[in-house]
Symmetry: D2
């Protein structure tokens, strides 16, 4: 079982048991607490818009894609839930490029949490309707 957590430090939760949507409040709270500890690892000398920035801005990478690429490089290719936490009192949804990368792994619920642990949830299908997918590749 794997959860992605980011906005601060992208990381992977193996220990947390995913007990289904109905008990979301519990594990969202745990994850949000973890995420608040981990802010110091981002590298954003320029803008604070990207998780990993670069002098050549187009080579930076959002936290969400950093988390997913990292998970894949460790052998994980199945995700049940994605959680985006923000350290302020607002809901932040992933950018369009990150939604596209997430969608590679199918539809799943995305939790977007505020600093107080309250959250909004939408499915990837709702966040990226009519998603471009492998079925469109001309072979």
């Amino acid at each position: 079982m794997l959860l992605l957590l980011w906005e601060n430090r992208p990381f992977l939760m193996h220990k947390l048991k995913y007990t289904g949507i109905n008990e979301a409040g519990n594990w969202v709270r745990s994850l949000t607490q973890e995420s608040h500890k981990a802010k110091e690892f981002s590298y954003c000398p320029y803008s604070m818009s990207c998780y990993v920035e670069n002098t050549c801005f187009s080579l930076g990478l959002c936290a969400e894609r950093t988390a997913i690429n990292k998970a894949m490089s460790e052998g994980y290719q199945k995700f049940k839930v994605i959680l985006c936490s923000d350290l302020e009192d607002r809901v932040i949804a992933p950018c369009g490029a990150c939604r596209q990368v997430m969608r590679e792994f199918g539809d799943m619920p995305v939790f977007m949490t505020k600093v107080d642990g309250s959250y909004t949830t939408m499915t990837l299908e709702e966040l990226l309707p009519l998603a471009w997918g492998t079925e469109y590749l001309k072979k």
Copy 2:
């Protein structure tokens, strides 16, 4: 007045008068006909998934972003309507990264046309709800 057209050749329509959603059928038909003439300009030796491909795949670029970057390099920064035409009997919506780039210019209707000129329309807000935007940049 500017329309973007792609899936084949990204280009810019200056002459066509945008007469509003109610008369969409007319100008969608004109645009779709134009787009079918222009397929030969894409550079896709590898996969046909991207409009401008590169040996290093992550440096390729979709037709939609090629069209928008091209328009901007010619001084256009306001778009009223976006049209994605496909040469087959299906509706193709832009990828998430392209939706994000379009959203930079505000909300607008996106027309997605099939080879026969029939079309589906959604707003950018519907295609990318809760879009990440400039209001989130930490200053």
Copy 3:
């Protein structure tokens, strides 16, 4: 015959006759003058690091790649010379990602000009030695 010019407005020169390296001084001077007229078209509300920027920084695009993608969308796939002009008293070379995209089209001389029209020249092979290329794609 095609020349790419940028740092300001990426554009394409059809009229200028490329008379060889030995007469570079002449056409570099013409191109540099043209480029100084065209600065107003870039879209960089955030950083001035990219030619076409986006709220999601990783979706921005350098001037060099904008110019090449634009040329390709108009049907050009062969380039004899690339020229990067800077409006200040310094030489600017393209970023690594842009060098990779240029290298897709083979080796060629790259002229890097200062505001006064003086220039440095290197080949793409010198700017990106041991370049990753199509010969490495596993088929």
Copy 4:
């Protein structure tokens, strides 16, 4: 002390002692052996050109950038040496975009190894001369 290893699985070496260029043969051999064990983690259903691919090709990411982003997300921002191993009898150098991302961290030696452990070495400055850097950002 940190070494990046890829072409297969990007990963981070903490245990290996970097004993300087003069003893490169020893730790290059160790790293190359490690890298051969780890090929199964790449996600390349489409082309095998990228380490982490996506249906939308421009959203894929090379192994080198995956490794660097992963290291940064774990808090590492200083690298002494970079090693690119290939599983075949050839030397592969990083693409231009990856060289640019590496260059963010200064100059350093890059080792490029063949399947038999023999290697070529160049500095980043040699692989990306006149590199675009933070000194060019207009503030």
